[in-house]
């Protein structure tokens, strides 16, 4: 723990922030994105200068002053445990797809933002759905924003929105005019896979990169 204490000490010493950046608050901005078959939760978490050491200690579990991919993933999972997403009264489990940490000097300035992205698969049927999202992460220092993005497809629209005074909770009406059809989805997916296979066969030199995001990247940067 000596190393951890040293890292925190260095962090505090380096943190000579511009006095008016965020200080004792932990800004947590959530955006909810809806499609016919998925709800995506994007979180931007920005600890203020005076709470940054506390958050950094929670992320940097081994106290070496650097955030490893495993550490930021671990913290992101801890954040997800503090979130609640209900669709039509049923609790939905969130799958983590992205967790990125700022460097430790960015933390110290109160300008570093942790990015977390997760999703839940669902199958919205035609009609109105009630979605309730609650963020209970670090309530003692948290200040919150929560917004539903206007869906990119016309079949899904956002209706009434109600937030609590602190924006920790939002109650949403989501109106769906077309049902998610698993059979069509399967057919389209199969066709897409077949197309990719054919293309790869006739393009032997193509890189063949998978369009899968890395869960986390090592955020520590040598000075």
């Amino acid at each position: 723990m000596k190393v951890g204490a040293l890292a925190l000490g260095v962090l505090l010493a380096l943190a000579s922030p511009v006095q008016s950046h965020r200080l004792d608050e932990y800004l947590q901005a959530t955006r909810l994105a809806f499609s016919l078959d998925r709800v995506v939760v994007e979180l931007d978490l920005t600890p203020g200068v005076s709470v940054a050491p506390q958050i950094f200690a929670m992320v940097d579990r081994d106290g070496d002053g650097r955030v490893s991919p495993i550490e930021i993933e671990g913290y992101a999972r801890r954040v997800l445990q503090d979130l609640s997403l209900q669709i039509d009264g049923r609790l939905s489990s969130l799958t983590l797809v992205r967790a990125e940490s700022p460097s430790w000097d960015e933390f110290g300035e109160g300008l570093g933002t942790i990015h977390v992205e997760a999703f839940t698969d669902t199958a919205f049927r035609k009609g109105r759905h009630r979605v309730v999202y609650v963020n209970a992460h670090e309530p003692a220092i948290g200040v919150y924003l929560v917004n539903a993005l206007i869906p990119s497809i016309a079949d899904v629209t956002i209706g009434a929105e109600h937030r609590d005074a602190l924006q920790r909770r939002i109650d949403l009406d989501v109106d769906v005019t077309a049902s998610f059809d698993p059979a069509s989805w399967l057919m389209l997916t199969s066709a897409a896979v077949a197309a990719v296979v054919i293309l790869r066969r006739y393009r032997p030199n193509s890189a063949g990169r998978m369009n899968v995001r890395r869960l986390a990247a090592d955020s520590s940067r040598p000075d």
Binding site: L14, S16, S20, H21, R22, L27, P102, L149, Q167, D223
Partner: protein, 351 residues
């Protein structure tokens, strides 16, 4: 402070009065764009090969999104660690003057002055924060940390883009022939009020004052509609949030009387009229045409001088104004977007 930085600060101070600015109505848009092209070419001619390679970049879906509110030394929202272009600290004084002439050529007189005021504020921030900054800290503010980039090739007929930005400033001007588009653009200020040469400068003072005036011109029932029931501590659709939009909230323009609607247009004009006069006039006409469907939302105090967030959202405009963190009214962020035409996308689609 390095010689270059000092020269930059002096230069900017001097340019407030030295640079020629248009005092009469601008020539037609095409002529205004030619002015921007000529200024850009003149600037490029002052650069050596290495500098030119930094300034001129391809215009594509990735390069155009690299801008931020953040100071140098902090990873931007889009993941980039440095802005596009060449920074003032790496230019000679005459190159800096040519660079500023490009910015002046595409903006209005008031827009250019606003840009200078924001840069002055950041220079003040650098001067107050640098003495206590520990060695090794990578964060920098001030004049030397403003970047100019040209995406594409400046042309009176083809697409190109000018980016000028640093801490609290991201001017993104997309030019497509006669059309000039200012969205998305970020302005901010810290300090939000300071004295320069004996004059009090408030880079975003008019935005603040016009919004409070409008809020206080509403009757009690209208204020109730405009006032959101929850706190808002930051921009919702700030840097890094391209292509996203939220539901409009607050009072709808159709529920305002003619005088209040005019005040709302005038408020939006604080962002729109940063652009050259003809392009701004066309955009304001569009804003007026949609004013009935434009919403005005408010969170916070209605007393001018206290902290308040506001948002204006219509079919072709989104503006947010958000006091930041502990400093509240002394640290402001704003964003100006057009959900239908950021980066001139609608203009591109028409062509």
């Amino acid at each position: 402070m390095s010689t270059l930085k000092r020269a930059g600060a002096v230069l900017l101070l001097g340019l407030v009065t030295a640079l020629p600015v248009t005092t009469q109505r601008a020539a037609p848009s095409a002529a205004a764009n030619v002015k921007g092209v000529d200024a850009a070419k003149a600037f490029l001619a002052t650069l050596d090969e290495r500098q030119r390679a930094k300034v001129v970049l391809p215009l594509n879906a990735t390069t155009r999104t690299i801008w931020s509110n953040l100071p140098t030394g902090i990873t931007m929202q889009v993941g980039a660690t440095e802005r596009n272009g060449l920074k003032f600290g790496d230019m000679t004084p005459s190159q800096q003057q040519s660079a500023l002439a490009v910015v002046a050529a595409v903006l209005s007189r008031t827009g250019y002055q606003k840009v200078l005021n924001i840069v002055h504020a950041d220079q003040r921030l650098e001067e107050t924060s640098a003495p206590t900054r520990p060695a090794g800290n990578k964060i920098r503010f001030g004049t030397a940390e403003y970047y100019l980039a040209i995406l594409g090739t400046p042309s009176p007929t083809d697409r190109w883009m000018l980016q000028f930005g640093g801490h609290h400033l991201a001017v993104n001007v997309s030019v497509v022939g006669r059309d000039t588009v200012l969205t998305p653009t970020h302005t901010g200020a810290q300090p939000a009020s300071f004295t320069l040469n004996g004059e009090t400068i408030r880079p975003l003072g008019k935005e603040n004052d016009k919004a409070f005036a409008l809020m206080n011109a509403l009757d009690a029932a209208q204020q109730k509609q405009a006032l959101l029931s929850y706190q808002i501590r930051n921009l919702v659709l700030g840097p890094g949030e391209d292509g996203k939009m939220i539901q409009p909230e607050g009072i709808r323009g159709s529920a305002l009387n003619a005088s209040q609607q005019a005040m709302l247009v005038d408020l939006i004009g604080e962002w729109v009229t940063m652009l050259n006069e003809d392009a701004a006039a066309a955009k304001l006409k569009d804003v007026r045409g949609n004013i009935g469907d434009t919403y005005f939302a408010w969170a916070g105090s209605t007393t001018n001088g206290k902290e308040a967030y506001f948002r204006v959202q219509g079919p072709t405009v989104l503006v947010e104004y958000a006091p930041q963190g502990a400093a509240g009214t002394d640290h402001i962020h704003t964003i100006y977007r057009d959900p239908t035409n950021d980066y001139g996308s609608a203009v591109r689609d028409r062509r």
